[in-house]
Amino acid sequence: MKLSMILNGRKTEEEIAEGMTLYDFLRSQGCSSVKCGCETSNCGLCTVFLNEKPVLSCSVLAMRAQGCHVDTLEGLQEEAKEFGTFIANQGAEQCGFCNPGMIMNAIALFREIPDPTAEEIKEYLAGNLCRCSGYEGQLRGILNFLDWKKGGVRE
């Protein structure tokens, strides 16, 4: 089967095996920011954008991305750096294994709800598990980032 998509802004065409997940496909394309933490669609580590909407790449067949735009953190480096600095300033990146998925979903949140409340943030990111940080530091980082976006100071 031939799969073609726009991956991180570049046209990509590959012969793939039937039943390949989008997760496996993206890793095979060198998008190693995409991580896997479960087999049951529970952890959110594998979050990527399919036509600009966040999806769990572990439970999407690669062929579903036929002709679509797919974005991973590799293609969003500027945004990742800008926002990620605020997570780093809290020390909340910890082991970092859950970070790409969480940051993808956070970017989706900022695009969808530019000025979310703390409750909206928690709900939007509820599917992104993190075993290290206890979530509080991530929340502080997100709130500081949003503040800064609105013209506040960088913390």
Binding site: K35, N42, Q77, A80, G91, F97, I103, C130, G134
Partner: protein, 854 residues
């Protein structure tokens, strides 16, 4: 000003909330984890696992499986060495018994490996796994750990089982360890007490559930050695364990680690490493094994399930006089960390109470047909503290004394000897301040014990104290090596493992503090058994305290070396020199050698002489101009050996004195040489290694302390608990990086909350673990943890680096007892088994609850 405040005033890098050195790589998703860094083709390794809790393998049919295209090798118990070992990452000789084989004919839990399959990709390996036919002789199994000791059914009947340490192990009794410790006559004192609370508290075998599952890759290098890249907390122990498992010399093995996606103790056991190591050693081909979440849940190294029986006696006025702790621990099918975790259930709970007339602590650790337990953050202290703190809270209720007051009356304080803590004295203890502050933060006085809300729900508060250790006293060894690089920056080599905790950064912060340089000037290299100095590894809350001290010592040593080199270059005795971070300065009264004339006398020294006039050192101007090679080449052309020798010849102090006497001026102008110049100087005809190593082990393990207080809202209609607020105040000594200490605390609290409220471990009658995915094993999401507030009340630990103790483990210990307390304050029911599900709470409130039912 307190000692800590005093110290933090003068600190520049330590005690600062600096970002981690690897933070930007992590937040931008750079390829830094094991499966990201592998290049080329690695065989995929998986294992076939036993479907039975106890069975002998009678026959294995491999012929069809072997024919699957792409299969490289399939191995069974007949192919592996018959020498038992332990997978526990501990200092040799390990207290954990040698009870494992790489593959055993006798399988002892559902999930025990039966065969190793290696092939070119996952698809062919999966196919082959399905085609292996195994005939088992199924045996009865021990699933209830109360029934294990002295059961005629033996988990380890084999002759070559062995225990290396005197821990009370006896495989003929299903005992992995047993001990009795105490002081005073507990029975007598308990009899004299006005009130005795007695209870049995049950903690399950919770999973660490780090987001990155177990994983290892191996290849053979140029020298024919087995290179193991693993997501591990213990590179050095892993090297020894792999050597034991494969029965090959340790010298044939090198272990390194990339970034680690979380560990929490799980990766203090060699869970995945031995399988790909065996495959690569056999085939000579690179291989890797990546555990699925399912495997990580059913065949790994979780917390030891423990039942802790407690009796606490007190007088009517609240004086707690005796504590008796009796722990039964389930080590599962193998003894990893069995003999050691259990000790903490008493040794790190009883000493919180400083006015005891007697205590007793007894334990048995038994083998069963469950998956083997291992090390999980808290390491037994978590289990013991849930029991003791809950019993003390119940005692307070019975005595009608506010539990905060009861703690104030009885808690251990600064300067006290703790008999149940190996007789150590608390030289740093701010537990009293932690308690006071936590009570203020949560509003204890107004909120204790509970109030009914308009919506019919009940709001209540609960509390607990906790302690842990800082490394294993007299055992854990941390080392560090630091090297001055040619450009005047440093590289720090450590063998401890940053698993997200930030130890690469905090150890670099300590180095930067001692060497008076910015954090960015310290590069960190960790961990590699070939190049790192020895370190036991990152566990037992040891890295900051044990390895941290080694870093400080190594840096101090290096300063001495730098002064020596600077002295040679400047021609000034090192005793007249002062290290000041960016360079070395002569002390005002220093006398300076008239090296100029000496150098001139050598003939080729004109160039050097001139440079000396311009500044502190020959050729170094060139070096400063970023033209180091040229500068050196010039010197070499001139005959470097000679020239350098001259310069490095020691000009003894006498000569300085002569010089100054000649001039009749004791203090010449300041002489200064930059670090870059010293470093570069040492690269040309150098004779002093600008590199220093130090090792450290501590005879004591100073406990960090903390207090946690929870406020919940409980729905009496359903038994549902909502956590509203959690106030935690920690005394970890000086926090080396307050941001990282805070996030460690928050992370530990949420794990503790998960363990208390959601994370259940249930076995079927056949010994199969039900909670084998994140669907059934519910770790907290960000909607489940309410508000967390963390503060520090720091004491100053005199034996720690910059007054630091530890933070990593203690933080998981308070949620279970604090939540049990809050639930009791809301309902009157004291729950003694984790997790506190809504069903259990509801049933307990309605009197239909029996322990162990849910």
């Amino acid at each position: 000003m307190s000692r800590v405040e005093e110290v933090s005033c003068v600190l520049r890098t330590v005690n600062q909330p600096l970002p981690k050195k690897d933070s930007m790589a992590l937040v931008t998703g750079k390829p830094v984890f094991l499966d990201d860094v592998l290049q080329g083709n690695y065989l995929v390794v998986k294992v076939l696992r036993s479907p039975h809790a106890n069975a002998m393998i009678e026959a294995v049919k491999l012929d069809t499986a072997k024919k699957v295209p792409g299969i490289e090798g399939i191995y069974t118990w007949q192919d592996v060495p018959d020498k038992r070992f332990t997978m526990a990452g501990q200092t040799y000789p390990e207290p954990s018994p040698y009870d494992r084989l790489l593959l055993d004919r006798h399988v002892r839990y559902v999930g025990d490996p039966v065969a190793i399959v290696a092939g070119k990709d996952e698809a062919c390996v999966d196919r082959a796994l399905k085609m292996i036919k195994v005939t088992y002789q199924v045996l009865p199994a021990i699933s209830d750990f109360h029934q294990a000791k002295d059961n005629p059914l033996l988990v380890h009947p084999e002759e070559n089982w062995k225990s290396l340490c005197p821990v009370g192990a006896d495989n003929r009794r299903n005992l992995c360890a047993s001990e009795l410790d105490g002081q005073g006559d507990v029975e007598q004192v308990l009899q004299e007490c006005d009130e005795v609370v007695e209870g049995t508290y049950h903690v399950k075998a919770n999973q660490q559930a780090m987001m990155e599952t177990f994983r290892t890759a191996c290849y053979i290098d140029t020298y024919g050695r087995l290179n193991v890249i693993s997501s591990t907390q213990i590179v050095f122990h892993a090297r020894r364990i792999i050597a034991h498992a494969l029965d090959i010399p340790q010298s044939k093995i090198r272990v390194t680690k990339p970034r680690i996606g979380g560990g929490f103790g799980a990766k203090q056991t060699v869970v995945a490493e031995i399988f790909p190591a065996f495959v690569t050693w056999k085939t000579g081909k690179p291989s890797k094994m990546i555990f699925s979440r399912y495997e990580s849940q059913i065949a790994s190294s979780p917390r030891h399930e423990m039942e802790v029986h407690v009796r606490i006696g007190a007088m009517r006025d609240g004086h707690i006089r005796a504590i008796d702790v009796d722990t039964l621990s389930d080590t599962g099918a193998y003894g990893e960390h069995g003999p050691t975790t259990v000790g903490l259930s008493g040794h790190k709970s009883i000493p919180l109470y400083g006015k005891l007339d007697a205590y007793r602590f007894h334990y048995d650790v038994v083998y069963t047909n469950h998956m083997s337990a291992g090390a999980y953050r808290g390491y037994g202290a978590t289990q013991g503290l849930f029991a003791v703190e809950t019993a003390v809270n119940e005692l307070a209720a019975r005595l009608a004394i506010d539990p905060v007051k009861l703690r104030e009356m009885n808690m251990v304080r600064q300067g006290q000897i703790m008999p149940a803590y190996y007789g150590e004295r608390t030289d740093s203890c701010a537990l009293d301040r932690c308690l006071k502050r936590a009570a203020q933060m949560i509003g204890w006085e107004e909120k204790y014990p509970c109030r009914r809300m308009d919506n019919g729900k009940i709001r209540s508060v609960g509390m607990a104290m906790a302690m842990q250790g800082s490394g294993i006293s007299g055992v854990d060894t941390g080392s560090a090596e630091i090297k001055l690089m040619e450009d005047g920056t440093y590289t720090l080599y450590i063998g401890s493992a940053d698993m997200g905790t930030g130890c690469d950064t905090i150890l670099a912060q300590m180095a930067a503090e001692v060497l008076e340089c910015p954090l960015k000037d310290i590069s960190v290299c960790a961990a590699d058994t070939d190049s790192s100095p020895y370190d036991s590894g990152s566990y037992a809350s040891s890295t900051t305290y044990v390895t941290g001290k080694a870093v400080v010592d190594a840096c101090e040593k290096l300063k001495g070396q730098i002064l020596k080199e600077a002295g040679k270059l400047l021609g000034i005795g090192e005793e007249w020199l002062e290290f000041e971070g960016t360079g070395v300065r002569s002390l005002p009264e220093a006398a300076v050698t008239e090296a100029r004339s000496d150098a001139a006398g050598t003939g080729e020294g004109q160039n050097r002489g001139k440079v000396r006039d311009d500044g502190p050192l020959w050729g170094c101007e060139n070096l400063h101009d970023d033209r180091p090679a040229q500068g050196c080449e010039n010197l070499r052309d001139d005959g470097p050996a000679q020239g350098c020798e001259n310069l490095q010849e020691d000009r003894p102090a006498q000569e300085h004195e002569n010089a100054s006497m000649d001039r009749g001026a004791p203090a010449l102008e300041d002489r200064w040489i930059s670090l870059g110049e010293i470093a570069a100087g040492a690269t040309c005809g150098g004779q002093i290694a600008l590199q220093a190593a130090a090792a450290n082990s501590s005879p004591v393990s100073p406990p960090p302390f903390m207090v946690g207080m929870a406020e919940i809202e409980l729905d009496p209609e359903t038994g549902e608990v909502e956590l509203l607020d959690y106030a935690a105040v920690v005394d970890c000594g000086t926090p080396i990086n307050p941001n990282l200490a805070r996030v460690q605390t928050e992370g530990g609290l949420v794990q503790g909350i998960g363990m208390a409220l959601y994370e259940n471990i249930q076995y079927t009658d056949e010994g199969r673990l039900r909670n084998n995915s994140f669907m059934q094993y519910k770790i907290p999401t960000r909607l489940d943890m309410g508000r967390l507030r963390v503060e520090f009340e720091s004491s100053y630990e005199p034996t720690g680096p910059f007054g630091a103790k530890s933070i990593g483990e203690i933080v998981i210990n308070t949620p279970a007892p604090a939540l049990a307390h809050a639930i009791a304050n809301a309902t009157g029911a004291w729950l003694k088994e984790l997790p506190f599900t809504s069903e259990k709470i509801y049933k307990a409130m309605n009197g239909s609850f029996t322990e162990g039912e849910i």
